[in-house]
Structures are given as C-alpha cells and as structure tokens.
C-alpha cells in the first residue's frame, strides 16, 4: 500500500467505510512503521468503549454466547466489534471459521464488525496484536468491543490483558470446573458463566464454583456465577447486566484507570523490548556467527557469549 493509498484509506475509515476498517486492521496486524503510523492517527479517536473478554475451554459454547451478546447489543442499537482469536493449531480444534459462518446474518449487519485472527506462530505477540485490532474497531466507532478466545496455554492472560472485563465460560461437562481451576482461568474471571445450563449437572457446577470463590480472600468485586443457555438466548440480559455492573465497579473504584494504565505499560514494554532488540541485532548481527562457532565448539557457553556481545553493544550504542 502506497503512502497516499494509506492516507486515502484513513480518510475512508474516518467516514465510516467498512472496507477501509478491514484494510487498516490488516495493516495493523502486519506491524511495522505503517502500523505505528495508523495507530498514531487512530489514538485520538479512541472512545474508551467497554472491552469485554470471553474465554473458556473448547466446546463450552463461547461463540454461541458471543453471537447472543452481539444480538442483544444490536437490539439496544449499540455498534459492536468482535475479535475472535484462535491461538490453536489445526490439531487442537479451533472452529472459528465455522462459527463465523454460523453468524451468517450478523456479518451483513452494518452495526457489527467481526474479525477473526489466526495467530499461529505469534503467540507471544497475541495480546498486543489483539489489543491493536480492538483499538482500530474502537476508533471506528464500535461501542461494545468483544474479544473471544479459547482458554489454552496462556491466552486467558492475553485476553485479560486486552480487555476491561473477563467472562469465563464453562459448561456442565466432564470436569470443566476442575480444569478451569487448574488452568488459571478462574484467576482472570470477573464473571463466571455456566453455559448449556439446561444440561444435567449445571446446578452442581454452580455450587462447586461458588464454593471455590468463597474460599478466596475478600475483594471489592465479588465474582458472580451466572447461568445461560446461549443457544436459546436465556440468561443473556442478566449477563449483560452483570457486565454493566462490573463496569460501574471498575469506574467507581478506580480499577478501570488502573487496568488501562497497566495495559499501556505492558504495551510500551513490549514495543520497547522489540525495538531494543532490533537495534542490538543490527549492531551485532555480524559478530554473532563467530560466537556461535565458539559455543558450538564448546569453547564458550551461550551465556559468556551473550555477556561479551552485550558489552560490545552498550559501549558503542550512542
């Protein structure tokens, strides 16, 4: 994309053209100076709209729930942005595309913007990439931003990083609650949802989760456990009310500002780390191979080599 093309795309974006939004998201996803430029221009347009994370084990009905949430907000005439992140390889499932197909009529609703992100190979940068795509959607004027991701590895930390409120979705199936506890999902939950609540075991599961929560140290926000049947739209209004309540709590307690500051800090840190390495690598690229030779020959360890290289970089970094 040429510079003038980018300017034209930004202009179209600011007049609300969807294709321009899609193009800017791609620019942001690709990174580099162009992405920075775009984000720089979008920053003044950020509105502070609520950012909601939806996460949980595979198969609990997250996409169906997101679908129901989107419909709910559309009924209340709010513009919605959805970022669906699939951090898994083909092997571990990831039916994001199929889910998006199911969303059929929503994808043609001009008040809804849905973006799927494939993140294979860039797990480290997931939080940042996700956050920046949400920035674009927020600057585009979407009033409710939803990030959906399967809770695998440490993606639940990434989603918590990129959003204000995190809904952890479980279903009354084989050990979901236990697994969520093991996997650290409970730690990031602002709201817990037992979806597919019309199936056997839902009541028991709610009690298990509440018992687990009751054992925690007291905090200002007490995590509610809600039940939904997303496929029938049941419990969605209650869930949205809880999200609103959490938002009010965040604002009144000062936690919202805290979270956003922390988010900014993490983002600055990530960018700084990358930049610093780019600079060091540009300076040291010619010297590294000789050191690698010595390490491979057992004459140095990676640590002694790194120490010498760092000294060389810092000495002449000015």
């Amino acid at each position: 994309m040429l510079e003038t093309d980018l300017d034209r795309t930004l202009e179209a974006f600011f007049t609300g053209q969807r294709r321009a939004a899609a193009r800017l998201i791609s620019v942001v996803e690709n990174g580099g100076p162009r992405a920075e430029d775009v984000l720089h221009q979008l920053y003044p347009r950020l509105t502070g709209a609520p950012r909601l994370g939806i996460t949980g084990p595979p198969g609990v009905g997250k996409s169906t729930l997101v679908d129901a949430l989107v419909r709910y907000h559309r009924k209340h005439d709010r513009r919605v942005g959805v970022v669906a992140v699939d951090p898994t390889s083909p092997f571990t499932g990831g039916a994001v595309l199929g889910d998006r197909v199911r969303m059929g009529d929503l994808t043609t609703d001009p008040g809804v913007f849905i973006r799927s992100m494939a993140t294979r190979g860039s797990l480290g940068g997931l939080a940042r990439a996700t956050k920046e795509v949400v920035d674009v959607l927020e600057a585009f004027g979407q009033q409710m931003l939803i990030v959906e991701t399967v809770g695998v590895g440490q993606t639940e930390m990434d989603v918590a990083q990129a959003t204000d409120s995190v809904v952890v979705v479980l279903s009354p199936e084989s050990g979901d609650a236990i697994q969520a506890m093991k996997a650290g999902l409970m730690e990031v939950a602002d709201i817990l949802v037992v979806n597919k609540a019309d199936r056997p075991g839902a009541g028991q599961m709610v009690r298990t989760l509440e018992a687990d929560l009751a054992m925690r140290p007291h905090s200002e926000w007490s995590v509610p456990v809600l039940v939904t049947v997303a496929s029938k739209g049941e419990g969605i209004a209650e869930l949205c009310a809880a999200v609103d309540e959490h938002r009010v709590h965040l604002e009144q307690s000062g936690d919202l500002a805290d979270r956003r500051r922390r988010r900014a800090q993490t983002e600055i840190t990530a960018v700084l780390r990358d930049r610093l390495w780019q600079r060091a690598h540009a300076r040291l690229a010619d010297e590294i191979p000789a050191w690698a030779e010595r390490v491979a020959a057992g004459q140095e360890t990676p640590y002694t080599a790194a120490r010498s290289l760092m000294a060389a970089f810092l000495e002449d970094s000015e």
Copy 2:
C-alpha cells in the same frame, strides 16, 4: 541451594549420581545465575551425542514409540535420556504423566533418565529450556537423547531447534496427514513415521505422504516414510536404522555442524535478548509508569513512548 551445596551436587553429578542430575535439571529449569554457572561447568563435558526429536499430533502414539525406542537402545546397551515436553494446558490433553507412569519399568532402569517438563506459561522459552535440560543429560553421559513433544502451536519448531534429527509421527486417523501439512509439521520432518500401521488406511496414508514429498524441491536428504506399530515393537529397528542413516548424512554433508552452529546462534540470541531487556528495564522501570499514564490518556501511543524511553536508555547506557 547454597553455593557449597551446588558444588557438592556438581561433584555428585560427575560421579554419575542420578539424584544430582535431577537436582541440576531443576536448577537449569529455574534459570538465573546459578543455572548459568551449572551450564558453564557442564559445557566441557558435552559429548555431541545424537539428539532426536519426536513430534506429531496428539493421539498418534508418540509416547509408545519413544518407549519402544528407549527399549531398543537399552537392548544395545546405550544410555538414554528422554525429555518429554508438554506445552499444552489441561484443556488440550497432555497425558504426559500418565505416559510416564506407563513407562513403569523403564523409570527404574539406571541407564534411562526420563524428565517431564511442564512448560505452561513459558512457551517462548521452550526451545532454550528444553535444550539446556538435554545439555545436562548429555553431560551426564546419556548416549541417545530423545525430546518428545506434541506438535501444537509452534512447538515443532522448538523441537527442531533443540535436536539434530526430527521424526514426525502420524497415525492413519482422521486427516492426520492433511493436518500435518497444514500445521507445518512436514517442514521440520527428517523422517516420517506412520504409527498404528496395523489400522485401516495406513497404506493410503504412506502414499499420500510420499506424493506430497515428491512434489518438493530436490534436496540432498530424501525424507523416508516408515511404518511402525509401536505397541508391538514393529518397525522400530528400521526406524532406528533410518535415524542412524540421517545422522551419517548430517555428518558427511556438514549439516550437523551447521545445525549445531545455528542452534548456538539462536541460544546466544535468546540470552542476549533477555539480558538486554533486564538491563533496560532496570534503568527505565521508574520512568515507564509516567509514560503509561500518558498513553492511557491518549496523549502518546505506545510507539512514541517506547521511542523516547529507548533514547533515554541508549544515551546513558555506558
């Protein structure tokens, strides 16, 4: 562990005490200056023993295959080290513990050293951590080193990074071959194995894989497609012969030295990156919060903030 304790552990390690090896592995896994110290002392003891990676989708029988390989090498009186890496959260399977229990009698064989690594939360450092644990096992005198990991995300790149030869294991089940192609597993394979070859579809799968390989650009090593029934020990001798052959190819072509140099380079780079960041963070930690404040308020972007911070660090890094 006190300094003198560490010295004593190293001494015990060099006289072949297993408990000392287990302790040093933990030290290495925990990182920090102590880990560096240990690696520094072990480096002169590295023997250059073959390092074999075993990877593939979940459920293809990788652990059973590793089990069979270990038994084979034990029959030939070679000391074996196994590092089983499970990079998945509780949600995506990961029966490593169960597998290790199944290995029952092998775990009491003094010629076998098995170590499971849980890597949740440290995906980025997986290659380095794995490589360093293998270093310890090699310095301990294990003559065949096997790294087993499920091919999820980009772990197959990590295993390729940490080993000399990579065996990709598939089974004649629902679309494994197709998925392997999609997931980039084929790219890292030096040897392909269709395990559970007594099940229907094995022959067809071998043909599909061979057809895919035939379409690739010619290279000096032609990837063989082997069949095994690991649970019955079938095809194991042939697999070991292929691994030996690949080793000979690596040595004669100079690829082994290349791979080991590249590995050293990646390791130096990873250490250097970490160190550099530690140094920068120590210098900038006090300034970052104020910048985060400005970013959260929309006055700066993470990119402009990072630029200013980097300039501050490099100016006074001397």
